[in-house]
């Protein structure tokens, strides 16, 4: 019982320091927790993810801003990098893989990059195909990597049709139940997502995280 209390105390400290964006402390405490034989899954869920959840919630409520989230995410990764080999060894799956990219013909990638950063911060594994990405590339990568979600970005009116090529391709290959799609960027909308048969639309990075979580539960 006493051991459990100390353990909880340590995990809470990890969560607290993570919220403060102190990557040095999170690194040391995660190391300590591993040495004290606390289950990696507990360190992840009750330490790192618990801290990121608080951050995510505060961000959603506009109590903190993007840089605070990025600092926290960096702290999370200082712990996560140590945990990852252990989690893999124990066969514990990651939160899920997401393939993202800016569609072909479009070189706007600032928004997509932000979404990628925030998804990583929320514990997802992100495969970023960069910009100028072809429909086939999105689908092939998702299949190869067993990703559950494809996230597409477009900032030009003229490049949005490519998004439909991706949703069509998934449907034609019977993949639309296991691979979900989410889109974003100034010229697209919820209505456009519905029109092309994409599963979700998000107007910013925080919303993107929320939607991807829901999609992963569905996929």
């Amino acid at each position: 019982m006493k051991g459990r209390v100390i353990e909880m105390d340590l995990l809470k400290q990890i969560s607290d320091f993570l919220q403060q964006g102190d990557d040095g402390k999170v690194f040391d405490l995660t190391k300590q927790a591993i040495e004290e034989n606390i289950a990696p899954k507990d360190i992840l869920d009750l330490g790192l993810i618990a801290g990121m959840n608080v951050i995510g919630e505060q961000f959603r409520k506009h109590e903190i801003f993007l840089p605070d989230v990025l600092l926290a995410a960096r702290a999370m990764y200082s712990g996560m990098d140590q945990l990852k080999p252990l989690l893999i060894k124990e066969g514990i799956p990651s939160a899920g893989k997401v393939v993202i990219g800016t569609v072909k013909g479009d070189l706007h990638d600032i928004g997509k990059n932000l979404v990628g950063i925030m998804l990583r911060g929320a514990g997802f594994e992100v495969i970023d195909l960069g910009k100028g990405v072809f429909a086939e590339q999105f689908v092939e990568t998702a299949v190869k990597e067993q990703a559950k979600v494809i996230g597409m970005s477009a900032l030009l009116t003229t490049t949005t049709p490519l998004m439909k090529n991706v949703t069509d391709l998934l449907r034609e290959n019977g993949l639309n139940n296991q691979i979900k799609t989410i889109i974003g960027g100034a010229p697209v909308s919820k209505e456009f997502a519905q029109e092309i048969g994409a599963d979700a639309y998000a107007y910013d990075a925080a919303k993107a995280v929320e939607c991807v979580k829901q999609l992963i539960d569905l996929a």
């Binding site: 506009h62 801003f65 993007l66 840089p67 013909g105 070189l107 600032i110 928004g111 932000l114 030009l156 009116t157 003229t158 490049t159 949005t160 049709p161 100034a186 010229p187 910013d204 990075a205």
Partner: protein, 486 residues
């Protein structure tokens, strides 16, 4: 005396330019275009073809700066001079390339069609304080492969004013150049009388894409004017300080100038941009932020110090509708831009982070621009000294409403905006229907649409434009263009 505003002193300008040049000579830039890289290498820049990386020398920068024209002019489709980009002369142009239109009748935001584009052009053709058109909307009812060139086609067909435009992909350049040659008659005539300006964007930080660097080269070859649109976002992909942002903007713009001037020494350019701060709360790039406007005015001073005419995306708003925020942000921007002497001021009509054009806002902004033109005329003595005679007349007559002095100077001294800006007293305003600003703007738009008179471009040239456009459309498998309004 013309009123002015300045943000930088000479020493700071010098420091900023010197740091920017050092960045170009130490860190260099990435240019994803082999043709451009080999050109630069021929002139002595250090190029790595594998990493698309180029490091400049002070000599290359100097050579490019030497050949930049200190001024140039634009001419309308009929060949009349409309713009003189020199000294502190200012010209307004509508904010360009919006994704959406704010429908003036329904007040709803939606994707624009050919009809919307033509309506927009009809309105702009009659706005006296807005000297050029811009290709301000992307019609949604044609194949996306040619919707960039289609805008220029419609503009040249319906309105005589010169056009601020740009391509979305390198292939579109040819037909967009051909349209202009068709209007002027020959390549040479187009060089002598430029008809358009192309916006070309580096990618912050310190990068050029294949498409946009190719645009710079293509325009330079035909001496088509280019405005460089560097877009550092302070605190995100640029330093958070305004000085740091200016250093980056200077480096990126200089790199564009080098590409242009080494391709064709003397090719006309505007030292432009669309920098913004990054609002970390909303993940947005506010064009109406006061810091954004300060950076615009400041890089204009840097451009001027290099002897180059300037451009900026200023006098636009991030409001989502025609509300007080739209007026405040556009008004402050227009005033600052004019006081700074930014030569080409891109903004009127634009809302929502450069993504929504509004005809209602355009007619309001036209009046704001009118006030601004009056503002920069400043306060000058006319027949004011000696003062005794006019006061003797005033005391004798009891008023000066029909005095010769008043009749001579009224029009120059006072600018009367309206009908969007309303100056009637309350009772009259109520009697005339208590119209809101939005109502008045809508009425004005409708009136202009009714009053539109077609461009006087000859039918032959119009037919040639149509056949060029049809051929381009066919390349994308579209055999019929949408029906065009009268």
């Amino acid at each position: 005396m013309r009123p002015t505003v300045t943000f930088l002193n000479d020493r700071l300008i010098e420091q900023i330019i010197s740091e920017a040049r050092q960045i170009l000579c130490v860190l260099g830039v990435e240019i994803h275009n082999k043709g451009v890289l080999s050109l630069l290498s021929d002139y002595g820049a250090r190029v790595n073809m594998k990493t698309y990386h180029v490091v400049f020398t002070q000599e290359v920068i100097e050579a490019a700066l030497k050949t930049v024209p200190g001024s140039f002019k634009l001419f309308d489709v009929m060949g009349n001079e409309t713009h003189n980009f020199s000294k502190h002369r200012i010209h307004f142009t509508p904010g360009s390339a919006a994704i959406n239109i704010l429908d003036h009748r329904s007040q709803k935001i939606r994707k624009p069609s050919t009809k919307d584009y033509v309506d927009y052009v009809k309105v702009v053709s009659q706005l006296e304080n807005i000297a050029s058109q811009s290709t301000a909307l992307i019609p949604d009812d044609v194949h996306e492969g040619f919707s960039d060139s289609y805008r220029l086609f419609l503009s040249l067909l319906y309105c005589e004013k010169p056009v601020v435009t740009g391509t979305f992909k390198a292939e579109s350049f040819t037909v967009m150049k051909d349209f202009q040659v068709a209007v002027r008659g020959t390549d040479k005539a187009l060089v002598e009388k430029p008809l358009s300006i192309f916006s070309c964007c580096p990618t912050s930080p310190l990068k050029w894409s294949d498409v946009t660097s190719q645009n710079v080269v293509d325009c330079a070859k035909y001496s088509i004017p280019v405005e460089f649109i560097s877009m550092p976002l302070s605190g995100f992909v640029a330093p958070v300080t305004l000085v740091g942002t200016l250093i980056q903007h200077t480096a990126e713009t200089l790199s564009g100038i080098i590409i242009s001037q080494l391709t064709n020494p003397g090719a006309p350019i505007l030292y432009g941009g669309s920098p913004a701060i990054f609002d970390i709360r909303y993940e947005t790039t506010p064009m109406g932020a006061v810091e954004t406007m300060m950076v615009d005015c400041a890089y204009n001073e840097i451009g001027k110090s290099l002897g180059i005419p300037t451009q900026a995306y200023i006098s636009l708003s991030d409001a989502k509708q025609l509300d007080a925020q739209a007026g405040i942000e556009s008004g402050i921007g227009a005033v600052l831009a004019a006081l700074s002497g930014i030569n080409n001021i891109s903004g009127p009509g634009m809302l929502d982070f450069e993504s929504c054009q509004s005809l209602g806002k355009l007619v309001l902004d036209n009046e704001i621009c009118g006030m601004v033109f009056r503002l920069i005329e400043g306060i000058e003595p006319k027949e004011d000294f000696p003062a005794l005679p006019i006061f003797q007349e005033l005391l004798k007559e009891g008023h000066l409403l029909i005095s010769k002095h008043t009749r001579t100077y009224l029009k120059d001294e006072h600018f009367f905006p309206g009908p969007v800006i309303n100056r009637s007293n309350r009772a009259r305003w109520e009697d005339e229907g208590s119209l809101t600003l939005e109502d008045r703007a809508v009425n004005e738009v409708e009136k202009l649409l009714d009053n539109y008179r077609p461009s006087e471009l000859t039918d032959n040239i119009k037919r040639e434009l149509v056949s060029l456009m049809e051929r381009e459309a066919q390349r994308y498998g579209q055999n019929n263009l949408p029906e065009r309004p009268e």
